[in-house]
Amino acid sequence: MKNFKKVALAATCTAMLGGVSGVVTTANAANWLMLQGTERADAAPRVKLWGFIQAQYQKDYSDRSPNGYVPPKLIGPNLNSQSGFNVNRARIGLRGQGMPLDGKVNYFLLGEFGNNGITAGNGGSANITDASITFNHIKGARVRVGLFKTPGSEEALQAIHVFDYINFTTMANQGLLERHPQAGDPTGPAQPTPNADMNHFSRSVGAFRDVGFQIFDTFKSAGWEHSYAVMVGNGNGLNFGDNDDNKDTYVYWSSEKVFGGKGGRRQGLKLFAWNQSGKRTNFNDKTQEQDRTRSGVGVKYLKKPFRVTAEVMTADGMIFMGQHRPAHLYNNEEANGAYLDLGWYIPNSKWELDVRYDTYTRGENHPTSGANDETEFNTLTVGTQYHFNKKTRLNMEFAMRDNKSDTPAVETENKGVSDRFAIQLTHIF
């Protein structure tokens, strides 16, 4: 009996360490839609406190423009220097099932206290980024309501604390991270230093989020996981309320061959496609409305030690043309972008090597010029990650940028744009 008690104790200890026998296998079905929008049925706490901190240092090696430094050569969100330490993200949130006896309803609440486009544009030091309730009553049609990430690009939809790089691709930064200017935002030529910090809008960036409702679910079949999402939202970013009668629609599909693992670094081969479509009302001329459409397809392969992600996007209408001319955002131009990301987890080590090439071309249909009035952004980023543990890691990256424009004023800003170094520590709790 003593031996039996020892075995029972050993079994308990092993189980606590996560040892699961071969008798039963676990199946972890998760993807970004499910990870962010749902909880494990009847197996979630009433309140789970969680969050993460990211602290970084960035250094831009660009050359001085004739009158000083302009935003492409300055570190955001403050845009007043070429180097600096920053706590760019400090998020704390709560999630769970408010009434544990009813596992069909869950919530997700997250706030941002770091210094980035979410807070710097808001004029304060904190902002709510997610506040949603999910109803899981109908099989095949879960309903999520509130403020949350919109279904779309892999780079935008994924959880930022497991993002393999520090800075976004230009495609995500300019094409997807929507700016929401308002009356009173300074307009005019790009301001060089020491006034370059005027080159930002007074409201938060959209942070790939919207307020609305989403119908979604995931279906498993023969080792594949098929997911869909259809969302209708205000098209007004993090702002709780709407600013016009137009609504955005979002559709998303993914099919993933699941290899194993769970959570944000689950291994698999995922194919995905998405579309976002809406209209915006010009804050300067409220009789003017402008389309904003984004579409993309991509693939993500992750099976250690290798990772490959590729995505292409096209954009019509509402193409971001720079922080200094908010009214010019209400245009009807075109853009397209793409990126290819490769990762290698060095076997038997905590190191990971990353390389990413991204390209973005905007202004392909510039209304005020002849043909070929385009601006092109090409960036090659090499990086490495050191995983102290599953919750703590160090990112380092070096981005080699090559920008060129057919528009003289933009080309002046781009001349001298050069490399950028960044190092960032992430800790998740």
Binding site: V23, L101, K104
Partner: protein
């Protein structure tokens, strides 16, 4: 002749007894491998933990040589809700001989809060009171483990 038979029988008995003894001891130890696992905690991690423990016990002894019963009551009864995320593992463990007992008292009280009785996993059996079930099993030689 009679004395020779007695001697032969005695010798046989001496030779065989240790073997029979070891068999009996082995059989007894298998029979003693009976464990009741208690889950009454609201922490969802405990759900995973109690299933892992049951799994590991079965792996060690073999499913034919051990009796495992998981008794759920209080907040721990959520483990045995019909739609619980662990229902796949519960079905698998039930197939391996694990018994799942749901407390009727808890079910009734939860039903009052919900407005209807919670739907329970069909692999579970209802017992009148979880804690009484544990006491009864202990009396029958089960070892209580509360992960």
């Amino acid at each position: 002749m009679k004395s020779n038979l007695i001697k032969a029988f005695a010798l046989l008995a001496v030779l065989v007894t240790p073997f029979i003894g070891s068999q009996a001891i082995a059989a007894k130890s298998f029979a003693d491998a009976k464990v009741v696992l208690q889950i009454s905690d609201p922490n969802p991690f405990k759900q995973t933990l109690v299933l892992n423990v049951a799994s590991n016990i079965i792996k060690h002894y073999g499913q034919d040589n051990v009796e495992v019963e998981i008794v759920a009551f209080g907040p721990g009864l959520r483990l045995l809700f019909a739609e619980n995320a662990n229902k796949g593992r519960i079905a698998s463990l039930a197939g391996a001989g694990v018994t799942f007992s749901a407390c009727a008292n808890t079910t009734r009280n939860m039903g009052k809060k919900l407005g209807h009785p919670p739907a329970l996993n069909p692999k579970s059996v209802t017992v009148s009171a979880g804690v009484v079930r544990i006491i009864d099993l202990i009396k029958k030689g089960y070892t209580l483990v509360k992960p």
